[in-house]
């Protein structure tokens, strides 16, 4: 039964993402849409962790081996500077959210397989947010890319 390991990974990934959202939000305060929206998305991550808590309590926290299983690094510790900074930081976030997105998918599969109604309910409520986060990041990067790659100095 390795589901508890994945629940731990999921919880940690949400935590990492929330922190990374806040780092980028703080570091790009000059881009108000990015700033305010990433704050909102960070709160989404917080609420996902909140929703996961009873499930994790039920399965018990099995953290053994988490370190070696972890797929992503420690998230974003600080923002970059220069004309490409925003684009690169958003792209880093995109990688983090993608990782989370498929993690939710896999945990959801396990929830279905084990007919765990409580977990399935959590997955149903939360997994759409990762997809939305990806869509927003794509929308914003699509807007920023031509200017940053072609004109900015």
């Amino acid at each position: 039964m390795k589901l508890p390991v994945y629940l731990g990974l999921l919880d940690e990934a949400e935590d990492t993402l929330a922190k990374s959202f806040r780092v980028v939000a703080h570091g790009h305060g000059e881009e108000p849409d990015v700033h305010f929206l990433l704050e909102t998305l960070a709160r989404q991550c917080d609420s996902h962790r909140q929703a996961l808590r009873p499930v994790i309590e039920r399965y018990g926290e099995e953290t053994e081996g988490e370190e070696e299983h972890r797929l992503t690094a420690n998230g974003i510790q600080e923002v970059r500077s220069g004309p490409l900074a925003l684009l690169l930081d958003l792209q880093d976030l995109y990688v983090l959210v993608s990782h989370l997105d498929v993690t939710w998918m896999m945990v959801g599969q396990a929830a279905k397989g084990s007919r765990d109604g409580q977990l399935l309910d959590v997955v149903t409520r939360c997994e759409g947010d990762a997809d939305l986060q990806l869509r927003w990041l794509r929308t914003r990067m699509k807007q920023a890319a031509p200017q940053a790659l072609l004109v900015a100095e």
């Binding site: 000059e30 881009e31 108000p32 849409d33 305010f36 929206l37 704050e39 909102t40 998305l41 004309p83 939305l132 986060q133 869509r135 927003w136 794509r138 929308t139 699509k142 807007q143 031509p146 200017q147 072609l150 004109v151 900015a152 100095e153």
Partner: protein
């Protein structure tokens, strides 16, 4: 004669439901001129608010000397408001008019000739296009130009240069109206008609102080209110306005909490069964999602969050839910607040839930703030593609390329249109090096003014400003182009309820001033923009050529102009689009058949997520759309981003006064209007005034995290904890902060933040502190 400065709405002409609004011709003539002395009356429509009142300009000896309303016009039946009467011809004939082009030499603006001025513009433009490409160029225009001018600019930007960096100050006033219509119905286009006022049983005004912003439209409501079988009135506004005083229910909610109230009203409709299930099933999608989003918004929760009485929420909902015919109007109180698009969509949703659309008296007026804002949205001088085409639909882009005979690759469809705030951000960062501003004044009208001033004075930015006066913005320009104003050029424009008017040239512009259209065409010629076959991209010689070109661009689109012509617009009344072979005299209401323009091949937008602004995209849209059905779009409420705290304990909101328009470039130059409202003020509740130890007329210092103001206090008429300042006042007639003057522009304090979908800045909610100004009167 009635004093129309004091008596803003004039004498009542009562009428009953279903009746014809009686005519009343309002007129103002220059002192000493009688109607009999007038050489000629020239047809036009007023440009001092978004109402679009049909009028005639009196001309004597080659000068404009007066104005009167056109009794035959469907919009105003002869009436004019105080701004039209006292600020129209007077507002453009002031001695301050720019009469020659100006260029910056050794840091100072000096007069020059057109060749030199245009030569400088074209040289810089070509140089930047060669070195950095089209994304180095931005265009920021207005809600004041004519249709033909926007369309010319749209073609220049999108097919000549190929930049997505085009927007109008319509972003500040009407972007949310457009966005909410696109999200709900698939395309822009006002569903309702002003005649819905004649037919309705209830009117809801959401964040819309109509009594001051569209005085003639308010007269129409007042006349219904003073006739038999009066409509019931509901007002959503934190201030105790004239509208609020006339209302059956006034909901004086806290600024920033509109969405909570709207979710509560929607919920009441569901729980009381005030919905039309048959209509919902036949004509809409996503009612289940709407129901679940509003589920927690009981009247009690609304009361707690919004600071209004739960019983009033119930009463308002009951009026909406049980009146036979409901009309809703929405303006800046919603558009310039938190959750702008989501709140405006909830107004659409209320109507969809009851099938209150497309029938007499049942309408939505997602208002515009400006007379020609609609045309900017239609013609593509803002971010959108002309003719309500969808930038994410390759077929629409190809169609435009065919119409313009250009390579589709030139048209910037690969990116969402760049909104105004982002254009200024790129200028701030230096990647936009050429910015052309026409007929608008961001140095007063944009949020966080100290930042805007820093951007405008940047060395890396070549700034062209085209205006009739040397505005605060023009003072930062590298080249200033003097243009013809209203009455000095010919063109068409379209008001809130899709009524198209022709405004004819009455007199010559002063000095060497030229029409905006002539200036754009001159730029296109000098830039040598060409189509695929080597012909000139813009071969128009006169405004009517532009109108005919525009008609071709609109064929088959929601804003179909093909049935209109200058000739048809002369005499009689303005006509409402769509106007084509099928509807030769226009169309009073949209969506009478419940058929919405949501088909994937036809719609203007695939929509957005209301929380983030993420685009839905064509694949997801096509997978979920049922062609012809409208969308219920909903979002849960979250508190605004800047809430009052210990340091900044008051909620600050901004708005308008009846006597001024925009940044007073015209209205501040006419004596009756300026005398009526010579100075800005801070409106404070009696309770707060007492706490602060200030009384009427005392000067206070108001500060936010972004700047400060010094203003005299006006006591009353606002909910405690909130304060209000009018946004019109800048520094062209007094010393500004750069010159050691007292800061007085309301936008010194506002926040740089915008709605994620409409990108409209949030002017209506900031946290401020207030203290009594120390000691003696400032100079």
């Amino acid at each position: 004669m009635v004093d129309r400065i004091a008596d803003i709405w004039g004498a009542r002409t009562p009428y009953a439901r279903g009746g014809q609004w009686p005519g009343r011709v309002d007129m103002a003539l220059q002192a000493g001129v009688d109607a009999g002395d007038v050489d000629e009356w020239v047809q036009s429509a007023c440009v001092l608010c978004s109402n679009g009142c049909g009028c005639e300009i009196a001309v004597k000896d080659g000068r404009m000397v007066g104005i009167r309303g056109r009794a035959s016009d469907r919009v105003n039946h002869g009436r004019l408001g105080p701004k039209g009467l006292f600020g129209s011809w007077q507002g453009v004939q002031h001695q301050d008019r720019l009469t020659r082009p100006l260029i910056r030499e050794n840091g100072r603006l000096v007069e020059t000739d057109w060749d030199t001025a245009m030569g400088r513009i074209v040289a810089r433009s070509k140089e930047l296009l060669a070195s950095k490409g089209p994304l180095s160029h931005g265009f920021y225009t207005s809600g004041q130009l004519f249709l033909e001018e926007y369309y010319a600019l749209g073609i220049i930007g999108k097919a000549g240069i190929g930049t997505p960096h085009m927007d109008g100050n319509t972003r500040l006033c009407t972007a949310t109206a457009a966005a909410s219509l696109k999200e709900s119905f698939g395309a822009d286009g006002q569903p309702g008609s002003y005649t819905d006022i004649d037919e309705c049983d209830a009117v809801f005004l959401y964040g819309h102080n109509m009594a001051e912003t569209q005085t003639v439209l308010w007269s129409r409501i007042l006349d219904r209110l003073s006739g038999p079988n009066t409509p019931r009135l509901v007002c959503v506004d934190p201030r105790d306005t004239e509208v609020a005083r006339a209302a059956d229910v006034h909901l004086p909610l806290r600024p920033g909490t509109n969405l909570a109230l709207m979710n509560g009203l929607i919920r009441e409709l569901f729980v009381n069964g005030w919905i039309d299930r048959e209509y919902i099933d036949a004509h809409t999608l996503n009612s289940g999602q709407l129901r679940s989003v509003v589920d927690r918004w009981t009247p009690e929760l609304v009361a707690e969050v919004c600071g209004v009485a739960a019983s009033d929420v119930r009463r308002a909902a009951a009026i909406f839910g049980t009146s036979e015919r409901v009309l809703s109007t929405v303006l800046q109180g919603f558009y310039q607040s938190a959750h702008a698009t989501a709140s405006a969509c909830q107004v659409n949703n209320l109507h969809l839930l009851r099938g209150q659309l497309g029938r007499p008296g049942c309408g939505i007026l997602q208002m515009n703030g400006q007379p020609t804002a609609q045309n900017n949205r239609e013609c593509g001088a803002d971010g959108d593609l002309p003719g309500f085409r969808n930038w994410e639909n390759p077929e629409h882009v190809k169609e435009l390329a065919r119409i313009w005979n250009v390579d589709p690759a030139v048209i910037p469809d690969w990116s969402p249109p760049t909104h105004a705030m982002q254009i200024f951000r790129y200028a701030e960062q230096g990647s936009i090096g050429f910015l052309w501003i026409s007929a608008t004044n961001p140095a007063v009208s944009m949020p966080q003014l100290s930042r805007i001033r820093d951007i405008l004075r940047k060395e890396s930015l070549f700034l062209v400003v085209q205006d009739i006066y040397l505005s605060e913005t023009a003072q930062y320009a590298d080249v200033v182009l003097p243009c013809a104003g209203w009455g000095e050029k010919t063109g068409t424009f379209t008001n809130v309820d899709r009524t198209v008017h022709l405004s004819e040239k009455a007199v010559e512009p002063p000095g060497e001033a030229r029409s905006d259209l002539d200036i754009f065409l001159d730029y296109a010629r000098r830039m040598d923009f060409r189509d695929k076959d080597g012909g000139p991209l813009l071969d128009w010689n006169a405004p009517e050529d532009g109108f005919e070109a525009w008609k071709r661009c609109t064929r088959g689109r929601p804003c179909d102009y093909t049935g209109l012509s200058y000739e048809k617009l002369r005499g009689g009344s303005g006509l409402q689009w769509p106007c084509n072979d099928e509807h030769p005299y226009g169309t009073e209401r949209l969506y009478s058949d419940g058929d919405f323009p949501t088909d994937a091949a036809y719609c203007e937008s695939f929509g957005h997520d209301l929380l983030t602004g993420a685009t839905v995209g064509s694949i997801r849209y096509k997978a979920s759309v049922e062609s012809g059905k409208a969308w219920f779009k909903a979002l849960d409420y979250t508190p605004p981003h800047e809430e009052p705290d210990k340091e900044y304990p008051f909620r600050y909101t901004t708005g308008r006064t009846v006597y001024h328009f925009h940044t007073r470039t015209k209205t501040g130059r006419t004596k009756p209007l300026n005398d009526a409202a010579p100075e800005p003020w801070l409106e404070v509740s009696a309770e707060d005034a007492e706490k602060l130890g200030v009384s009427e007329g005392d000067k206070v210092r108001v500060a936010s995290r972004r700047g400060r103001l010094e203003l005299p206090v006006r006591v009353g008429n606002i909910r405690p904890g909130s304060v209000f300042a009018p946004f019109h006042y800048g520094y062209w007639d007094v010393a500004g902060p750069d010159d050691g003057g007292r800061p007085r522009a309301a936008n010194e304090l506002t926040l740089t933040e915008w709605d994620p979908v409409s990108k409209q800045p949030v002017f209506k909610n900031a946290a401020v502190s207030i203290e009594k100004s120390p000691g003696k009167e400032p100079e």
